[in-house]
């Protein structure tokens, strides 16, 4: 009975959703060997993050647990796991895909919201203040070229990135 109940709550389609997204294509190649977890600098210092576990839960269809949890945001994007995976699962990219899905559904850490706002406003993710810009000649640096903010906004609008941002701000 326990087994039956479990089957009903599991949505196996989630792995297909991940697989169909940019970055998520290789997720179903995983055979759970754990090379990723043993190569992971973050997994070594906290039980909160384990790349093998994230892939396993995703393959089992535990979408809510994966995208609402904090684990997917603890990947440091070092690509050690991806470099070493014997199955060529692009693990760090799969985690980007999971973050992309999480964000679309409204789960977004504040720091990423800030990155998105700065990008939309300034065309950069770290703003160059007027103060810093004015100091350049005295330091012997050439003037900064203008940033392509207008072109960037057109791109962000074409991909719907600007709307993602509005959605986040509404959360």
């Amino acid at each position: 009975m326990e087994h039956e109940r479990e089957e009903k709550t599991i949505s196996l389609a989630f792995s297909d959703v991940v697989k169909s997204r940019l970055g998520g294509e290789t997720i179903t190649l995983c055979y759970q060997c754990g090379t990723c977890a043993s190569s992971c600098p973050v997994a070594k210092i906290t039980p909160r993050f384990n790349p093998r576990e994230i892939i396993k839960l995703s393959l089992l269809g535990e979408k809510d647990e994966v995208i609402s949890g904090d684990a997917i945001w603890l990947c440091c994007s070092c690509f050690n796991c991806q470099e070493r995976c014997p199955q060529k699962v692009e693990i760090a990219d799969v985690i980007y895909a999971l973050r992309n899905i999480a964000l679309k559904e409204g789960f977004i850490p504040n720091i990423y919201s800030e990155f998105a706002s700065t990008l939309l406003n300034d065309g950069r993710i770290a703003k160059v203040s007027r103060f810093v810009e004015n100091k350049r000649p005295a330091l012997g640096l050439p003037p900064l070229q203008p940033t392509g903010v207008d072109a960037l906004r057109k791109i962000l609008s074409a991909t719907g990135f600007d709307k993602l941002q509005q959605k986040k701000e509404g959360v």
């Binding site: 600098p41 906290t46 992309n100 990155f115 998105a116 990135f161």
Partner: protein, 291 residues
């Protein structure tokens, strides 16, 4: 004279004039011309990739388009930019379907990605356009007796399939470039492990744990300084030392220099021209040892 479109990125102009000055001055001295193009933007690094990968590919491709229009290859100083731009350049060159999709987006900004140009890390430019032999001949103030802990960070090496800078598990490029300046490259434990930089702001505790390990291991190995390739690694290890001190009551006082700063010093560029005051951990120990 080799010419490149300089992709300066965000963090360097915002916070690290020491990196920009040392790179501009050294490369000029070695006969590499850097061209500053108008209208570049953020490279769309991991924080943007985390939000939307398709957007990040389009933004990176847009910047490559500017270099294509100027008939120049791109040179990057920041490993984050190197990784993001390379990801777009290599992926889109190999995938016609994805390229067509990204080009539909770029057409809104009046651009088309052709895939006609290369993205290079400045270390690759040093190897390809200068070479170790000429570099050695250009050194006028060798960094004798200086023990340097080479730190590649992550996005100069990995994913190696895209970046092709060196062997991702046993690299030697940076060590060779350090020794060419007359310094000694020291080995230390877990050299290739991440600095934790990208976790800053989301989980400072974990980020500082990773930075602390790097500082402890390089100190134990007797390094006089750490050589970095990336502004994020620099922040994690330089400003990071002040935070590590506050959190763990551990003082390392380990100078962190970009490789380009060591290069500039070895090429005889006056330290006063390099904005070394930008460093939170003073570089005096290093300057004294090599003077």
């Amino acid at each position: 004279m080799a010419s490149y479109a300089l992709f300066l990125g965000c963090v360097i102009p915002a916070r690290q004039p020491n990196y920009e000055l040392s790179a501009r001055k050294s490369l000029a001295k070695l006969g590499i011309e850097l061209v500053d193009l108008a209208n570049m933007t953020c490279c769309a690094p991991p924080p943007v990739q985390s939000i939307d990968l398709e957007t990040s590919l389009a933004v990176a491709a847009y910047n490559i388009c500017l270099a294509e229009e100027a008939d120049l290859n791109l040179i990057t100083l920041c490993s984050g930019c190197f990784e993001s731009l390379s990801m777009a350049n290599v992926t889109l060159k190999a995938d016609e379907q994805l390229k067509a999709k990204i080009n539909r987006i770029l057409s809104q900004a009046g651009k088309e990605f052709l895939g006609s140009r290369e993205v290079k890390h400045y270390l690759q430019v040093l190897m390809d356009d200068v070479g170790l032999k000429r570099l050695k001949q250009s050194v006028s103030k060798p960094l004798n007796n200086l023990k340097v802990a080479a730190f590649y960070g992550c996005h100069a090496l990995r994913p190696s399939e895209l970046l092709k800078l060196d062997d991702p598990e046993r690299p030697s490029l940076l060590e060779n470039l350090i020794e060419t300046l007359g310094a000694e490259s020291v080995e230390y434990r877990n050299k290739l492990k991440c600095c934790g930089g990208l976790l800053r702001g989301y989980s400072d505790d974990l980020a500082l744990n990773l930075a602390r390990e790097k500082l402890a291991n390089t100190t134990k190995a007797g390094a006089d300084c750490i050589a970095t390739l990336c502004p994020f690694c620099f922040v994690a290890l330089d400003i990071g030392q002040i935070q590590v001190k506050a959190k763990f009551q551990e003082t390392y006082d380990m100078p962190v220099l970009h490789y380009s700063e060591l290069l500039a010093l070895a090429l005889g560029i006056d330290p006063k021209e390099l904005a070394l005051q930008t460093h939170k951990i003073k570089t005096d120990k290093v300057l004294n040892k090599i003077s």
